[in-house]
Amino acid sequence: MSTRLKAGGRRVDPGKPVTFRFNGRKLKGFAGDTLASALLANDQLLVGRSFKYHRPRGIVASGVEEPNALVNLGEGARLEPNARATTTELFDGLVARSQNHWPSLDFDVGAINARLSRLLPAGFYYKMFMHPRPFWKHVYEPFIRKSAGLGEAPTDADADTYEHYYAHVDVLIVGGGVAGLQAALAAGRAGRSVLLMEQGAHWGGRTPVDGGEIDGGDAAGWIDAAVRELEGLDNVQLRLRCMGAGVYDHGYVTGYERLMDHRPGAPGPRHRLWRVRAERIIVATGALERPLSFAGNDLPGVMLASAVRDYIVEYGVSTGDRTVLVTNNDDGYRTALAVLDAGLDVVAVLDARTSATGALPEQVRGRGVRVLTGKGVAKATGGKRLEAVHVCAQAGEGAVIETIPCECLAMSGGWSPVVHLWSHTGGKLSWDAERAFFRPDPDRAPTGADGEAVVDIAGAANGHLGLAAILEDAHRAGGGEGAPAPGTQPEEAPLHPVWMMPDNARIELREKMWLDFQNDVKVSDVRLAAQEGYESVEHTKRYTTLGMATDQGKLSNINGLAVLAQALDEDIPAVGTTTFRPPYTPISMGAITGDARGELFQPIRRTVLHEWHERRGAYWEPVGHWRRPYCYPEGGESHGEAVAREVKNTRQAVGMLDASTLGKIVVKGPDAGRFLDMLYTNMMSTLPVGRCRYGLMCSENGFLIDDGVVARLDDDTWLCHTTTGGSDRIHAHMEEWLQTEWWDWQVYTANLTEQYAQIAVVGPKARAVLEKLGGMDVSADALKFMDWRDGELGGQPVRVFRISFSGELSYEIATPAGRGRELWDRLFEAGAEFGVMPYGTEALHVMRAEKGFIMIGDETDGTVIPQDLGLGWAISKKKDDFLGKRAQERSHMTDPNRWQLVGLLTEDGSVLPDGAYIVEDGTNANGQRNVQGRVTSTYHSPTLGRGIAMALLHRGPARMGEVVEANKVDGGTVAAKVVSPVFYDPEGEKQNV
């Protein structure tokens, strides 16, 4: 039985009872409890089932390293799966459910897997699920999906909010134990700006439990004084419940602060992701105790020795009346003392070492406890809880000498420094054979941009386990002068590394020795992997799933690789560790998202006419980050009907389009003409002032990247229109060439896209609309096709471009954005008598396709050159050079066998599916139908009353009149005739009136 003690419990307040529910049962705890301590206080030893064998699992640890006690925490919109009970602060009304069992925690059908464990060895999945192939989809995968997985995925939207915080500090210290506090004192007193993060809710780490004196007084008193002093320093910032999650390049660190997990529903963000730039990082993350590998070490009731004393000292919770301690070091004896101090029984200490004569063992002996040296655990036995420990000689094969009934078995296999954050960004480790752990190698620290170490590590994390050494090391790391407060603790004798208990355990025992409790990886699995040829620790990890659980091997890693080293007959450092990757423990998706959800999920760019479109009932299409009206359905119209109406109205009367999103980049300077001649495939330097020219831009590999109309504003100024999605990209492209390659050319650019609203007035009655508004001469003589003029319309300053993307008489009118809505309203009003209607992007697309105009992103996909699209006319033969010229002369680009642009008309008038292939006879090596081209644009043309399409076809232009087959979604094909891509007004008479 585990239970609450009458006395003790530094953190809990018996005056503040708290009620909570576990698997529907109403239980009581105290303020200050963790969920784990409260469960233990209620004798809830069984908290879950393991991943693979569904073995009963109890609480093993008291902190972040806990592999078993994971629960579904909360409900509905506040359900969090895989919440660690040991780091979940208890609050009134907490609701938790255990995971990974069916139908119930006590009776779990999946436990049959344990009986079959011989059939589920390491690499089982790889071996079993290969054959027969169809079984994967229909048998194996559904079965695995149902039986695997831990917590439930929430189905409701998260009720909480989250935020980021960007901090910049001189010194960031991760870990608020005595090392972190000492380092913060040193750095803070020196006047440096300091941010100190502690993942838990308390300062001082485990020192108050482990004992010792600092500065001649008890450690807890020193911790309180240190925190008070730090709180008084303006240059020091202290954050509890804030975990240093990851260390990245250039002093960048993420911190995960849990603000509301212990008081859900309180106002404010639940989690805050700290994004810190620190000049110096000090990792003071302490150390974690290792379990011992003996048979039955996964039974509920077997716990880390440090956890047993934590529960007694911090929470006043007994983990059992009768405790057996099994250890290979002196530190474990602290647990025996804590158990005795609580008035409970230590039945025996099993010390794997042949002698134990240090101060701590002597104290334990002095209190009448039986200490058996050279002994270990042959096996622990019991069902859903531990019943007895069977003692054997550590040097032997596991013959049982004695059986000791007990409720709790505290195990200590020594300590491993928490080097994770040191290693995240490249800090190297060396093996300390004497203490049997990996410790940071100070000569191979993570370095910053200047090549100097940017991460330092101090205290237990740096391999110092004694209080005095911890404080000295932290004082050094914090840049302190002189000597720090002295720490005193009993001297400890060296440990004896134990990777398997007993040394020569037989296979039956090895099959019950758990390394990874959550993932059910045992000593026998790692040895099997070695036997099957796995030598790399990274491969073994993936083959056996060792360390791949949510705890990421915090308990299993070192033990596992030591077993692997033994099996391979290698030294531990030769095997090495797996890679430490951030985050240190899982962080919430919400914290990563921050405020980017709901309306802030993604910035939506709005033109000044957005509201008008919205009110008109526009159906939106995302274009870049903009939203553009796709069409404006009226009455009960379908989108298709609306598009057809908009096209017809524009072709027969007049339409208006919001073209504000088009990129507008001004390019000015004595070398601007020369620059544009390099950027565009055609000649822009010869463009007369007052005129416009359509231009193509290619990458240096020759592929089309953008197109648009260029206007020459004056002698040394051009205005380049880009595609909507291209404005930022093309501006950056220009600046890159100017700043890196042609830095001595006198050219300035400015992206003026947002300065102007731009409205297209399109259709045979467009001129009449503008003339009604009046203010400038827009007649065919004064403003010819491809002219532009500055002027006024209705008293408003405008720049009118007579350009056309529809094939109709068309004006694009730019005005300062602040007056865009005014101009739109006036034009719309003036157009009323001529039947003006707004049209959307789909009508624009249909009309340009009817005219055979290409669209970047439809006819191009990064592999298409202008020559493929019949745009040879827009490629200057006179220029010595332009971006892409040389590339377009390569043999593959000039190959006559390239796919080239044609129009397609289906024989039955139907609309070809988007992206259809034009098929050819036969199949390729993969048994797929051969293809000879693909459809790039396909629409129903309301003007022609039939489907039209543009396509890239093998030797297309030479095959006019031929009938080809394009595939359909249903598997069949449809016949289409190869025609010119210009379906409407091939002579261009309509736009030139």
């Binding site: 980021h164 915080y165 106002p267 404010g268 405020d595 802030l600 939506i604 300062p816």
Partner: protein
């Protein structure tokens, strides 16, 4: 807790001015009465110059004066290679007031908002949430935020969210 406030500023005249700073200094002094600002700085009262990059300034003036200022610049710099563009309509400006203004902005910008690093009177071109923006600290407890017009609604909501959080809890600044 401090009470932070946010409002969309009245339209103002803005001219993006690129050129060699030696040749811009004279005309700018005549027009604004101020010397060119140091890097990351701002200069001038009323009409002001904000440093944007080693070859770019943002000239602020009354919206009604933009035409006249552009004409004067064009005349004075006729012989110099330069680019002066009216960008008054391309951007919107928000005014933030309250003692927690640095703390609020630290929630949404990677820019170092510490008083010792970002001085009153300085300007930073940076990122707010997911968009480009500039921050001008106009006082110990006041800032202006400049962003593109199309994302004005996004930035307004983003700022409001950050201000609300800073009103609830001052974190580090």
């Amino acid at each position: 807790m401090s009470d932070l406030s946010l409002e969309r500023a009245a339209p103002r005249g803005m001219i993006a001015l690129r050129g060699d700073f030696d040749s811009l200094a004279g005309p700018c002094r005549e027009i604004t009465g101020a010397d060119l600002p140091a890097p990351l700085g701002a200069a001038g009262e009323g009409r002001a110059l904000l440093w944007m990059s080693p070859d770019e300034l943002l000239l602020l003036c009354d919206p009604g004066d933009v035409g006249e200022v552009l004409a004067r610049l064009g005349e004075a710099l006729a012989a110099q290679h330069h680019l002066a563009s009216d960008v008054s309509d391309a951007r919107v400006v928000f005014t933030l007031r309250g003692p927690g203004v640095r703390d609020a902005l630290a929630r949404i910008t990677p820019c170092d908002m510490r008083p010792g690093r970002f001085h009153v009177g300085q300007v930073r071109r940076t990122r707010l949430g997911q968009v480009a923006a500039a921050i001008r600290l106009t006082g110990d407890a006041a800032a202006e935020v400049y962003c593109f017009r199309s994302v004005g609604d996004y930035v307004e909501r983003l700022l409001a969210t950050a201000l609300e959080s800073a009103n609830r809890e001052r974190v580090a600044l």
